[in-house]
Assembly symmetry: C2
Homo-oligomer: 369 residues x 2
Amino acid sequence: MSAFRAQGPGQLRGPVLVIGTGLLGTSIGLGLRGRGVPVYLSDPSPTNQAVAVDIGAGRPVGELAGAAPELVVVGAPPDVTADVVLDALKRYPDAVVVDIASVKAAIQADLRARGADLGRYVGTHPMAGREKSGPVAARGELFTSMPWVLCPAEETSTAALAVARALATDLGAVVSQFTAEEHDEAVALVSHLPQIMSSLLASRLQGTPLHALSLAGNGLRDVTRIAASDPALWVQILGSNAEKVVEILYGVREDLNRLIGTLEDPTAPGARLDLAQLISEGNAGQVRIPGKHGGPPQAYSWLTVLVDDRPGQIAQLLTEIGEIGVNLEDLRLDHSSGQNVGMVEISVLPNKHDHLIEALNDRGWRVLQ
Amino acid sequence: MSAFRAQGPGQLRGPVLVIGTGLLGTSIGLGLRGRGVPVYLSDPSPTNQAVAVDIGAGRPVGELAGAAPELVVVGAPPDVTADVVLDALKRYPDAVVVDIASVKAAIQADLRARGADLGRYVGTHPMAGREKSGPVAARGELFTSMPWVLCPAEETSTAALAVARALATDLGAVVSQFTAEEHDEAVALVSHLPQIMSSLLASRLQGTPLHALSLAGNGLRDVTRIAASDPALWVQILGSNAEKVVEILYGVREDLNRLIGTLEDPTAPGARLDLAQLISEGNAGQVRIPGKHGGPPQAYSWLTVLVDDRPGQIAQLLTEIGEIGVNLEDLRLDHSSGQNVGMVEISVLPNKHDHLIEALNDRGWRVLQ
């Protein structure tokens, strides 16, 4: 059984109105309902709304009657979010209104230009998602431990910001605060650029003989994993954050052109230095990515254990690592190819590395590193 | 204890001479010694050679005396490999000579141009490695289940090819056969291009505020994982395969320019279609990557289980999955941020997905998908 701790009571009292019962909106409804908050649901698609009601994410908006929502959550596509927020601010003059779109600056600018009451509005971005979409895919736990960025405008009141923060923390998310501009720049880099690089790479695999792809290893698999993402979603995201993304892509293009020039004449003076620089700059950037649980980047030590590829082997290994008393920082299964032998890559704190290898060897495991 | 199966006797009888006792050469020595094959070691660095001898990878080349090696393995850097192979072919006129450099066409062409006896030569590429280098990092199991590509020239004799194949299979590798040109094209795509894309991306993180990097999720981590690679190694690899790599990069540049054009004017007619096409082409390429154990691409179903982030939880989960009788296809730990709650992502065959979710729910685990 799971020892996951029980949920405490939330800070929001409700009622909360969720407009847009897609994956995120419905998940918010489910999560708040699980904490006893009254939730009402509205969606332009009667079917979507009915599904969200049926799975217990809240009651139909019609039943809100004259009651005044404490909070309205707008879960609409980015290109109509400002319209829906504006409408909600007018229709519910006592409510705080938040949106959950994945880009923020354009929406805020649009609302300001149209004279919206920004004192009651907070742009937010819960950085959670799933490969599936729609209300059926919703889960009340979707936001647990995930980042949720709050982007208040200068006009946003402290009280409104507190309500937005309560929404995120009630749902178990990790809250951070950015300006809308900072947010869009940050996600252009940490989210939109990786998607683009992964898609550009994977796109090159289209015409390749399968023979060649049989040599694929974990490197290729890692870099192309997110290339499986949904085109419809990414059209919206990239289109809405085009300005920030394109600015970063100019830098990528410059580096790519320099690399192409070097590889066109790889024996020219300085060519080796250029190549070393490309990889070194990648090293320097990669090492800055924060570690587990948002902590400082930490160099973990990796070791690899060979196991037979059958049920129970990996569980047995992890049980024994637990008995040895070493905490697992990360784990990967290696399945590049052949022979039904699996490799389990394990990362631990560097000071545990040698002890763990010795202890596993003593227990008869075959350890590579 | 590990149920890893015992090693059978190998096909090589030896003696085998390994020239170049770096990571790969020394690992070959260790692996063959473990199977009882007599191994001799040579390295231009007396220290490296002595270390390799000390850890049991073979005896110093001086002790070979007049004996004729069955096989000479050249483990030299790509830019001197042809010289060393040529010398070995002359010095040991009865031996098969293989090299293990990671690019193949230029070496073969160089040897042919210099009149080498290609009948006794096989270019090979064991696709195994570690983050560390040098003889100290060597492991006899390094090649287990990893691809090992054989690239015989047209002149290579069947007998020589059989010896090269015996080397790879004795060490537990999965053998495939390519022409040198095919090999270099394939690795340019499945190995060198991912490295470049990962480094280009990670390089952009150099100047970013850490604030922004705190939003990093698994997408960024996956795509930049190999950006931590060794610059010295990659200078050699990219420099030696420049022609094949640059040809692929022209295609990447074309796609990147098209994307930049689209994002510079994201509301122009056709812009959304262009963006959708980029992501869709990535989808189409990504899905062609072969599945586990080199099998056909297989769509696994993923589910996510919440666990407390402490020793024993993950082992307990995997033990219960074993009890439920479902085979794990892949597993990842999610540690994007906060709160000491871990997420374990598990992939299983699609027809096991719903059953596993139900069974885990029954046992009190909190399952997201």
